[in-house]
Amino acid sequence: MKPGGVSVTAVLDEAAELVPRELASWAGLLALTSLPLRFLEAHFLNRLFQLGDNATDYVNYLLSLSWLVALALLPALWGRAVFARACALALSGRAAGRGAPLRALRPSFPSFAAYAYAATVAELLLVLFGWTVVALPLLALYAGLAAATTYLQERPGPLASLALPIRMLRPFFPFLGLTAIFSVALLLALINLFFLFALGLWLAGGASGLDLSWWQVTLTPGNQQYLMLLIACAVTVVEPFWIASLVAAVRRVRARESGEDLAAWFADILTRDREEAA
């Protein structure tokens, strides 16, 4: 680590190495807990667009779907908190050659309450301003940082819990760069998933005796529900890397603040000098 900066490429390297090698099972847990939420959100939006001009006549139905989304949010938040904690434990245990221990499953209750509060405020802002589209990446960044700082929430408070993720944004541009890169990654994941399903359909077409006409109509980009589900799946695929990157970035920001990066850099130089002398 070089002193003084939070490098986007270094953070991405760290996350890309960490998730598949040490956190694969934790990423599975994250996907299991967040998929119901993603699918319900997709279903809610699909029904909303289907109702169109008559939406206010069916507001009770939309509210019942919205309550289901709220119910699914709670396990999703727990999964995110656990995954972020596993990332932090894996990163701090690396020097000792250990992965994330099972105790990551039990984040402390005050920390989790503080995170759930910050994430709910982000959800409320998403409901209020999500339709502007411009707010989406900023809210995704805030919600991700709230998860990445869960283990740092020691004293929950209505303002302190909201301010902690923002305090980590002191070098803002690396986080902006990460958000831009993950927006592109989300789009690429979406395209890949689309072609994966198209390939599966094409291969299934080679088998005799299968009637694929229903699937051919369903798995088209013109089908709004299919498109929503694809977006939900793409978000689920990208999410572990997004959270791991933010945890790694937060760790670097804290190292920079405490001078740990200078100590590590100096130790690196000393080690290199010793190796060259030997």
């Binding site: 680590m1 809610f44 939006l45 909303l48 667009f49 109702l51 169109g52 001009d53 008559n54 939406a55 206010t56 069916y58 507001v59 939309l62 509210l63 779907l65 919205s66 309550w67 989304v69 709220a70 434990l89 701090s92 020097a95 000792a96 221990p101 105790r103 990551a104 984040p107 402390s108 209750f109 005050p110 920390s111 309450a113 503080a114 759930a116 509060y117 709910t120 405020v121 959800e123 409320l124 409901v127 209020l128 339709w131 283990y151 020691e154 004293r155 929950p156 408070g157 209505p158 804290r254 190292a255 405490s258 001078g259 740990e260 990066d261 100590a263 590590a264 130790a267 690196d268 080690t271």
Partner: protein, 89 residues
């Protein structure tokens, strides 16, 4: 990231971990694992002095209630704002 080699409190001993609060390198005898994180003795003593457990519990209960209230608000607004926006556009 290469960890600094020696304990902050015992320079003759190898560092095992970094305290999650003060970020100082610490050896095995200085480290206490709490909530899965390494803490040094000085930081644990400071936490004990400053953080009253009862105060934290009361604040946490308040935060949970506030979270449920905000979640309910977000849920109702999601239904209504969604319906109004879709009709408007």
């Amino acid at each position: 990231m290469a960890a600094p080699a020696h304990c902050f409190y015992h320079p003759d001993r190898s560092a095992l971990a970094i305290c999650v609060s003060c970020r100082k390198p610490i050896c095995q005898s200085c480290s206490t694992l709490w909530e899965g994180m390494h803490h040094c003795t000085a930081c644990l003593a400071l936490r004990r002095a400053t953080v009253g457990e009862r105060g934290t519990a009361v604040r946490t209960v308040f935060m949970v209630l506030l979270t449920f209230a905000l979640l309910a608000l977000a849920t109702v607004l999601r239904g209504w704002i969604g319906a109004i926006l879709v009709e408007g556009f």
